[in-house]
């Protein structure tokens, strides 16, 4: 299974290095630290909002996942800095990943 196969089904898994155990982002087959092979880790991952803005009615925010890496995700309710969130929706639309947190 690949990251893209999983996210296209709405599953958010994080690649982890099988050698040094580092979370590898953006998703890759090999670790960008030790070059070890990665495997996809399942979990109820935590994110923290570190910045946000708004376009029309939609907020978009920088979310730091697992104190490790950051993504830009949509959030429907007005966010707060340092708010803890989880991925509520994800997928691929017209070639782009999308993430929503709540």
């Amino acid at each position: 299974m690949s990251f893209e196969e999983e996210i296209s089904k709405g599953n958010f898994l994080i690649p982890e290095c099988t050698v040094c155990k580092k979370l590898v982002w953006p998703p890759a087959e090999y670790c960008n630290d030790c070059m070890g092979k990665t495997t996809l880790k399942e979990g109820n991952f935590q994110g923290k909002i570190i910045e946000f803005s708004k376009q029309n009615e939609d907020y978009f925010c920088i979310v730091e996942m697992e104190d490790s890496f950051r993504i830009i995700a949509k959030i429907t309710k007005e966010p707060r800095i340092d708010q803890m969130v989880k991925i509520s929706k994800c997928g691929i639309n017209e070639g782009n990943y999308f993430f929503e947190v709540s």
Binding site: W25, P26, P27, I50, E51, F52, S53, K54, Q55, F60, I62, F69, R70, I71, I72, A73, K74, I81, N93, G95, N96, Y97, F98, F99
Partner: protein, 369 residues
């Protein structure tokens, strides 16, 4: 290393015209040769093309169009700082002795594919530059308690400067209220906070010390080169309210030139969006953190053209592959005392700041008489 200088330049107006990339490239190179009849085409060792356009083999195409058969000809793409990356490559060819004279030509069309970095999936569906600019702006305002009105003055100042630049896209001046009232792109940026993609081209000749004497009696020397890449992905920026790659690149360039930032009389900084100018001023060390807008206000109120005299990216437009070269031409003209209505008094040392993809990478050039 051999000493490297700027010997000649040519530029086109920046417009919204629908022209072929090959034609745009040719125009600025043609202007360069028209302005500098002492250049012997057969002495050009390398032709480098800076663009994000997807057309292939553009450097050999430009060479053939100009009747040049260089030893080396190739393209260079690095998003918005492709232009200064090409200048650094030309510098390296000459400094190493591989070339004595290099033509660097940059061009872009208004519909450049270089605006979007498709690879950066960490941005999710928010890949357009307006989203990183909104995050930068939100973060900068939050960190330093800066207002939209303070940031809007960057656009007011740079549109105003652009009125003295016949090649600039902007043909109007605006008030702070005009900027605030312009189309709301996101909660944090308005249309007039944005530089605009456009069609344009800029060419420059770099040459060794021996060669340059045959071409010009007003050489401008590239005395400092600094570059830093933090990442490709926007979300790997260490901070969203400061430009870390620019800080690193500035330190390297000033050290190489043996200069301090206080020695710099004139600078072109990469104001892709309003917030980028104070962030750049802070990163190069002209302002303390959070005080960039204070310097912008002071410059505007005293009609001091020291920062972005040609109008910056906001005033001139941003034809990606040409921008870094156009910035370098402006500083060259300033140091040669050839900048006409835009001229800074006593300009001896100048600086160019050109960055890509939300400052994930930066180039700094220090130029001197």
């Amino acid at each position: 290393m051999n000493k490297v200088g700027i010997a000649a330049y040519g530029i086109t107006p920046f417009t919204k015209d629908d022209k072929k990339i090959e034609s745009i490239l040719f125009e600025s190179a043609k202007n360069l040769f028209a302005n500098n009849p002492k250049i012997e085409k057969n002495e050009i060792d390398a032709v480098l093309v800076s663009t994000n356009n997807n057309s292939k083999y553009l450097a050999p195409i430009l060479s053939e169009s100009l009747g040049i058969q260089p030893k080396t000809a190739h393209s260079i793409e690095n998003l918005c700082n492709s232009g200064t990356n090409s200048i650094v490559s030309a510098y390296s060819y000459i400094a190493s002795g591989l070339a004595d004279m290099v033509l660097v030509s940059g061009a872009e069309r208004y519909d450049s594919p270089g605006q979007i970095l498709d690879w950066d999936n960490s941005r999710g569906e928010f890949k357009h530059p307006i989203f990183w600019a909104s995050i930068f702006t939100s973060s900068y305002k939050r960190k330093f308690s800066v207002t939209d009105e303070q940031l809007a003055l960057v656009s007011v100042k740079n549109h105003s400067h652009a009125q003295n630049n016949p090649n600039a896209l902007s043909k109007k001046t605006y008030s702070v209220q005009n900027v605030i009232d312009s189309k709301k792109i996101t909660e944090d940026i308005r249309l007039l906070d944005c530089s605009r993609s456009c069609t344009g081209s800029a060419s420059i000749i770099l040459a060794s010390e021996n060669m340059i004497k045959k071409i010009t009696d007003q050489p401008i020397w590239v005395s400092g080169v600094g570059q830093k890449t933090i990442s490709a992905g926007f979300t790997k920026n260490e901070s969203f309210y400061s430009m870390e790659s620019t800080k690193h690149a500035t330190k390297i360039a000033l050290q190489m030139a043996g200069k301090k930032i206080e020695d710099v009389n004139v600078a072109e900084v990469h104001d892709a969006f309003s917030v980028c100018e104070p962030m750049a001023l802070e990163a190069i060390g002209m302002s303390n953190p959070g005080e960039g807008t204070t310097l912008v206000k002071e410059l505007y109120e005293t009609k001091n053209l020291k920062i972005n005299p040609r109008g910056g990216l906001i005033g001139c437009g941003h034809p990606l592959g040409a921008t870094g070269i156009a910035q370098t031409i402006e500083i060259t003209q300033q140091l040669q005392n050839n900048a006409e209505k835009r001229q800074i008094e006593n300009a001896n040392v100048g600086l160019v700041h050109n960055m890509s993809a939300a400052a994930t990478s930066s180039t700094i050039l220090v130029l001197e008489k």
